[in-house]
């Protein structure tokens, strides 16, 4: 049970963003900009960063939601699962592997990021903007994961189909609040 009273039809982050819409707005704006804005990193690559940080923070809700979004954007489910076991085994560029390793260091703490980890990413062609965005996406998910788990929000069963629907929503509509709100998700 959540630590405070939250809308029952909206599990995980979705209920928190409705409970406190004033604080939700800048968080939504930042997420939309970082994960969906113009960027030399693809949306799928940025969702991988969100997923690895959520996975390492042990946040089941965010991990499942962003895994679903990543899989939809990449058109396959293997890359994301391999990433969770071993970044080096992923079928992706060396640059992306180096950025995912930076994100994993940010998950531990800001000071865990080493000059060497950044130099490695740069040696594979990562730009300053890509390094900046990787660190900020990773930091943002350290916020989300703590918000979701720190309030003990409800985590739906992975078999329920919930995350597939949420993944589709964030791929098709992005991170801004739906114009019609979320009353249509209430169980009758």
């Amino acid at each position: 049970m959540p630590h405070i009273s939250l809308p029952e039809h909206l599990p995980g982050i979705t209920g928190l963003l409705e409970y406190s819409q004033e604080t939700a707005q800048p968080i939504r704006d930042l997420t939309q900009l970082l994960l969906r804005g113009d960027n030399t990193l693809s949306q799928g690559e940025r969702e991988l960063i969100a997923t690895i940080v959520s996975y390492r923070n042990g946040c089941v809700f965010c991990t499942n939601a962003h895994t679903a979004a990543t899989d939809l954007l990449l058109g396959e489910t293997e890359t994301c699962e391999i990433m969770k076991q071993d970044i080096d085994q992923m079928p992706v560029s060396d640059k992306l592997k180096a950025l995912l390793k930076i994100a994993s260091l940010v998950q531990i703490n800001g000071k865990a990021v080493t000059p060497e980890s950044v130099e490695l990413a740069k040696s594979f062609g990562a730009t300053d903007a890509e390094i900046h965005d990787t660190v900020l996406i990773a930091a943002l998910f350290c916020l989300y994961n703590r918000y979701v788990d720190g309030m003990a929000t409800f985590t739906p069963d992975p078999q329920s189909g919930f995350y597939q629907q949420l993944g589709e929503r964030i791929v098709n509509h992005g991170y801004q609040r739906l114009p019609q709100g979320y009353d249509h998700l209430k169980k009758s």
């Binding site: 300053d128 903007a129 660190v135 930091a139 703590r146 918000y147």
Partner: protein, 190 residues
Amino acid sequence: MAYINIPSEEQLPGIRGLMAFSPETAKPLNALAEILLRNPNNTLSQGERELIATYVSYLNNCTFCQMVHGSAAQCYLEDDGSLINQVKKDMLNASISDKMKSLLTIAGAIQKGGKNVTKEHINSAKALGATDKEIHDTVLIAAAFCLFNRYVDGLGTWAPQEASAYLDRGPRIRDEGYANFDPMSYIQKS
């Protein structure tokens, strides 16, 4: 030197340089700080909220953030620095209310990870009079500083070491807020 190329870096320590590097993401970050730390529609005072920000930044070992927000907390709480130091060194014996101690305990748990917040932490805060919104805001302020601290340190920004370098920051936060923060206003024209 930061890990990325920051304009006028020597005059823009900490998050100021990052906000100059990326003004687009700076906007929602400042909007979030404004609503969490400054919105007058809150039963936690601005000083109490800056104290949460300072405490989490201290636990994350982020020099820049703990000094800037410590300066803001000092300014609002009319503290000469001794209360802030007490909270950092020995929070449970600091001269603050029991409710505030229970909220800082929750913030300290959030710093470690969301799952570290226990039912007992929440029940104890509620028994001392904390409302749902106060608990929510404490959790979100603490989570937000886990973002800010990682952003500042994860990109290797520099921070002045001497406390005197931060003295002007508290009054500027009190008087100007975060929403319209412009890092360029800190650049001295030669």
